[in-house]
Symmetry: C2
Subunit: 99 residues, 2 copies
């Protein structure tokens, strides 16, 4: 994709964080993070598959860890050296997939 977004300001990021649920900003990692908990692996994997399809479509991929029903997600935009609107697009979509 062309016209990739640039790093958000702290104020922009804080405003965006207020629009999603359970995501926190990690200043050391310059990333937003959330741990999702599901009933079992099948539910967790369904969630991850939906997120994977969107990530591939957006060409913007998470760093994530899974064990059984738990999925720990980290989103950052390496090109921008920080968090951008792309990360919040993924965060919002993931909240929807997990709902």
């Amino acid at each position: 994709m062309s016209d990739r977004p640039t790093k958000m300001t702290d104020a922009e990021r804080d405003a965006a964080l207020a629009t999603v649920s359970g995501w926190v900003y990690d200043a050391d990692e310059k990333a937003i993070k959330k741990t999702f908990q599901f009933a079992d692996f099948s539910e967790a994997w369904g969630f991850m598959n939906r997120a994977a399809l969107l990530a591939e479509k957006m060409d913007h991929h998470p760093e994530w860890f899974n064990v059984y029903n738990r999925v720990e997600v980290k989103m950052t935009t390496h090109d921008a050296d920080g968090v951008t609107t792309l990360d919040f697009q993924m965060a919002t979509a993931m909240d929807g997939f997990a709902a």
Copy 2:
């Protein structure tokens, strides 16, 4: 599943490690580990999906981390407090999926 296997002896584990490719034993974590590298996310996700289906079928799930084309896998059998033949069944299958 009934009749879950028990923890392998060190000798059994070493013998099994010699039958798989690139897996190492981590004594602190009582687990076998391997990092898989693929051409891109699509390939990595294809691999993970095949492994996920088998894991669910076996009721034996990995701990794994993914970022883009890289998948870091850890297999252990918590019930047995160590590595069992189940872990090597998954390791062997994953090597096949990645081939």
